[in-house]
């Protein structure tokens, strides 16, 4: 055996036994290592550095729970993404100065060298279409579009100067959730379940709930990219089967299904004894998990088994698809041990081309749709002792311009704002987050960030930090180089960490 093979084989054995080269491990492990049947060599085929006792479990089930390298501040994440980009000037970023400039022509300096999605020529300035008041002990500003939110404003840390370099919906959503505006990269939820697995073995690790429509970039915003497809987000739908094909076919009772599964696994086990292929063991395990999921998924997805008072608190409408329903489901999932719950609410693209898209009309209804559910979610998490081990993130793919949109040079029918990625607002709450803090500031008309500028990569770096990862060390080898969610940038936003 020449040097290459010796080197290759011994490198392979070393990889399996100790060095944390994930690519070899996961791709080959899901392919074929049964673990139990073949003694210690395979048992210690562990993802973390030293051969630890808990790695063996992963060979049977790629979603087995793992511990992060650093002490985590949170165990689960609920990410609320407002698809279409809500106008921060009517919700969180109070700009009295902008009132004074209302209806005046936009100064040339703001437009020089700037490319907008739709604005052409010289637009007019549009004053905030909502009144603002200070709320809570922190005295942070909040618009009257979100009356309920005042009750929980002190639990929240605001990021007032978030920026992104994409101004089209699809690429901007991809950048926010996969760290790159191009297709093909794993989403934040996939990285989380790939790194930590999931506690509840009878539920998916990464669940996606949509209301009003799917995001512009389609399923790739919760895709697994180059990671194995077992880590992609599972879309749970409140209409029809919560997870595709979860229900038994008509006429097949539960115990008949049990009989069916026992026969399948019995014959598979005989096959395994004859052939000793560990992949068969993995398949037996997956069928058992599928059987359990058929009970646990519908149970966790059933809003009606929650008490009346809780349903009223969220303002849910069972049987329909709504953001309120999804917030209650998010809490139920997190309390049942699902690692990452991602919500998408569609309909925030207020360009002003119709009443539903006007910042003084449609936006108010949309704010009403999310105000009560989000407040209820934070209170409910708190009272169930979950808020300090869960991270709640609220955000969008970008913000909107202080100028009124005048698409193709003529005024729109209603008041609307164009896409604007330089100065929008996001907030975070929960474990490891300092309460009531405001980080970052935009100029007096909310056009550019002047202080505490935060990029998309900084946000993802902070989320990974709270989950217990160093975002520069958390990599996956593909095409010959280690890939990171935060690519080559990203600094943890320490100012909002407690």
């Amino acid at each position: 055996m020449n040097d290459i093979e010796k080197k290759l084989l011994n490198e392979y054995v070393l990889n399996q036994a100790s060095i944390n080269s994930r690519r070899h491990f996961l791709k080959d492990c899901t392919l074929g290592l049964g673990g139990i049947a073949f003694g210690s060599l395979l048992k210690s085929c562990a993802p973390s550095g030293s051969p630890n006792l808990f790695g063996g479990e992963r060979t049977l089930n790629p979603l087995a729970p793992l511990s992060p390298p650093k002490l985590p501040k949170v165990k689960n994440v609920i990410y609320l993404h407002m698809v279409g980009a809500p106008s921060q000037l009517e919700m969180f970023d109070y700009k009295p100065e902008l009132h004074k400039l209302h209806d005046q022509l936009c100064p040339e300096s703001l437009l020089k060298g700037k490319k907008f999605a739709f604005i052409q020529g010289v637009p007019k300035m549009l004053g905030p279409q909502a009144k603002f008041t200070q709320a809570g002990a922190s005295g942070n500003w909040i618009s009257d579009n979100l009356p309920h939110f005042k009750k929980v404003i002190d639990d929240v840390a605001f990021l007032k100067a978030v920026n992104t370099d994409q101004f089209n919906h699809g690429p901007a959503q991809l950048l926010m959730h996969t760290g790159s505006a191009r297709f093909g990269r794993p989403s934040l939820g996939s990285w989380a379940t790939y790194g930590l697995g999931s506690e509840n073995q009878n539920l998916p690790g990464f669940v996606v709930l949509t209301s009003g429509g799917t995001p512009d970039a389609g399923k790739s915003v919760w895709g697994s990219g180059f990671l194995p497809s077992v880590y992609q987000g599972i879309q749970c739908r409140s209409k029809g089967d919560p997870v595709l094909y979860i229900k038994d076919p008509k006429g097949v009772s539960r115990n008949l299904k049990r009989e069916l599964l026992s026969s399948i696994n019995e014959i598979n086990y005989q096959e395994f004894k004859a052939q000793e292929d560990p992949e068969i063991l993995t398949r037996i395990n997956q069928y058992e998990m599928a059987y359990r999921m058929q009970i646990t998924v519908p149970e966790v997805m059933d809003i009606e088994n929650e008490p009346e008072s809780v349903q009223k608190m969220y303002g849910v409408t069972p049987g329909k698809e709504s953001f309120a329903n999804n917030c209650l489901l998010a809490r139920k999932m997190v309390s049942s041990g699902v690692r990452f719950v991602q919500l998408y609410d569609w309909g925030w693209d207020s360009h002003g081309d119709s009443p539903a898209n006007a910042v003084d009309l449609g936006l108010r209804n949309k704010c009403k749709e999310i105000d009560r559910p989000i407040t209820a979610l934070l209170l409910d998490l708190k009272q169930r002792g979950l808020l300090d081990e869960t991270l709640v993130v609220w955000g969008a793919e970008f913000g909107r311009t202080p100028m009124q949109e005048n698409r193709e040079g003529r005024d729109m029918g209603y008041k609307g704002r164009d896409h604007h990625g330089d100065a929008f607002t996001m907030w975070m709450a929960g474990g490891g987050i300092k309460k009531g803090v405001v980080h970052g500031q935009t100029d007096d008309i909310g056009y550019t960030a002047v202080e505490g500028k935060v990029s998309v990569h900084d946000i993802n770096a902070t989320i990974l930090h709270l989950l217990g990862f160093d975002h520069e060390e958390f990599t996956y080898d593909f095409q010959g180089r280690p890939f990171r969610l935060t690519d080559v940038e990203g600094n943890i936003i320490r100012e909002i960490l407690s």
Binding site: S48, S67, P68, K70, P147, N202, S309, K368, D380, G385
Partner: protein, 457 residues
């Protein structure tokens, strides 16, 4: 030819020890020359070989310097001291031989001079090979100078009494500026490692202008946009954080005093926030434990019980019965061998009863207990008072009695107890002082309807 020189140069560290040995032996003889008769002749012999060997070591030293690419600045002192030693050894040898010139210089000059020059040469030589704090480093730890400046150095209760320069400005500058502005490497001939050096300024003038502070050069340099050439710290180096820039700005505008305290200068907590040492309360007790028993872990895992370390390579364990809801009181025995390791346990939705408290009290390092939605009523919960790490307890939607609340309020280390019962208002059944009440969360938050709920725009 080149290789031979390098090869010979390599002998320098070996040859150097010969003169050390000869000279010390010679000086020893010098001290005892009265007692030991033949001292004079022996001394001459010794110092002959001492000068030959020190000549050889100088020559080999030169070759090593030429071949191995040392920087002249570093070895200058060592070389001069080495030549001085050679001259003194040769001089003393000639003195002993009775050479007329050598006799002019007193004997003591040779002996004492030799001793001193030998010590200096040796010390400097040591520095070159092993780094310049080689000698003093062990002492430093003793004295407490810790040059790795701690990122966070103020503590919340006495920060106002700290002196502004030494307490706040010096740690920032040493982290971000002194790296290129120090005695050894003074970029722009500017040193910033002491207050005096700051006052002196550098090649193009002072950086702290005391009569018109706002035009101090240090302020323009740190506030210039990053892509400007003059922006400090240079783009490639670690940048000042926003908080650090504000602090320096505030300090310079206050006249950049050295000894005034932070309180006098009116620094408030918000400004100093990111320099405060959080009482980073270690969530879990930091104790050394050996590996948990592998067989127990395997058997528990095969039952479907979830056990993972709190973080990689840690022996503190988190246990949950989320995937094995049938867990009951008599299963608690299985966990016995892990009672030191388990720091966080979640038995929610399992079949445990009040008997659980007795076995839980044996888990000495427990920090968090969850018993949501179980049949416990709080009977025997007092046994948990033994746990001196217990910080959080979750007893949501159980048959918890109000007496148990009073018992729990007595737990010293407890930070938060979650006792929300959705079908009854536990809060109304008990009366506790506000500061104790704050450690409980009774939940039952309600969202009343607002008029705006029903308005459609």
């Amino acid at each position: 030819m080149d290789i031979v020189l390098t090869f010979f140069g390599r002998f320098h560290p070996l040859l150097v020890h010969l003169p050390i040995g000869f000279i010390l032996m010679g000086l020893l003889f010098e001290c005892y020359k009265k007692k030991i008769q033949p001292a004079a002749t022996v001394l001459k012999f010794i110092f002959f070989w001492a000068s030959v060997s020190s000549l050889l070591s100088i020559v080999s030293g030169i070759f090593q310097f030429l071949q191995e690419g040392y920087i002249w600045g570093n070895i200058q002192g060592h070389f001069i001291a080495g030549v001085a030693t050679f001259v003194l050894t040769l001089g003393f040898y000639l003195f002993l031989k009775g050479n007329v010139f050598a006799l002019r210089i007193p004997r003591l000059f040779y002996t004492l001079g030799l001793f001193i020059s030998l010590m200096i040469t040796g010390h400097l030589g040591g520095n070159i090979t092993h780094g310049d704090n080689h000698l003093t480093e062990p002492l430093e730890a003793l004295v407490g100078i810790n040059n790795k400046s701690e990122v966070r150095f103020l503590n919340v209760d006495d920060y106002s009494r700290q002196k502004v320069y030494s307490g706040l400005i010096e740690p920032i500058l040493s982290k971000k500026c002194v790296r290129c502005h120090n005695p050894k490497k003074a970029k722009g001939q500017l040193q910033m490692h002491t207050y005096a050096a700051l006052q002196k300024g550098g090649k193009n003038g002072i950086i702290l202008d005391f009569n018109s502070p706002e035009s101090s050069e240090i302020l323009n340099r740190i506030h210039l946009p990053e892509f400007e050439k003059k922006h400090m710290p240079p783009r490639a180096q670690k940048q000042l954080t926003q908080a650090e820039k504000d602090i320096i700005n505030y300090w310079v505008l206050k006249g950049a005093p050295e000894f005034k305290t932070l309180g006098e200068l009116g620094f408030n907590e918000i400004q100093l926030n990111s320099f405060m040492v959080q009482e980073n309360e270690e969530v879990y007790p930091s104790i050394e434990l050996d590996l948990p028993d592998k067989k127990t872990i395997d058997s528990l895992q095969s039952m479907g019980i979830l056990i993972t370390p709190v973080k990689q390579n840690s022996n503190l364990l988190f246990l949950s019965t989320i995937n094995y809801k049938a867990f009951s009181d008599n299963d608690l025995g299985l966990l016995a061998s892990l009672n030191k390791h388990i720091v966080s346990i979640d038995l929610s939705d399992s079949n445990v009863t009040d008997a659980v408290f007795t076995s839980l009290s044996k888990f000495s390092n427990l920090v968090s207990i969850k018993l949501n939605r179980t049949a416990i009523s709080g009977q025997g919960i007092d046994q948990l008072s033994k746990l001196d790490n217990l910080k959080k307890i979750h007893l949501i939607n159980t048959n918890l009695k109000s007496e148990a609340i009073h018992i729990i309020s007595g737990f010293k280390p407890l930070i938060k107890a979650f006792v929300f019962q959705f079908n009854r208002d536990l809060r109304s059944e008990i009366s506790l002082s506000p500061e104790i009440l704050v450690r409980f969360d009774f939940g039952n938050y309600l969202l009343e309807d607002l008029p705006s709920d029903t308005v459609v725009y």
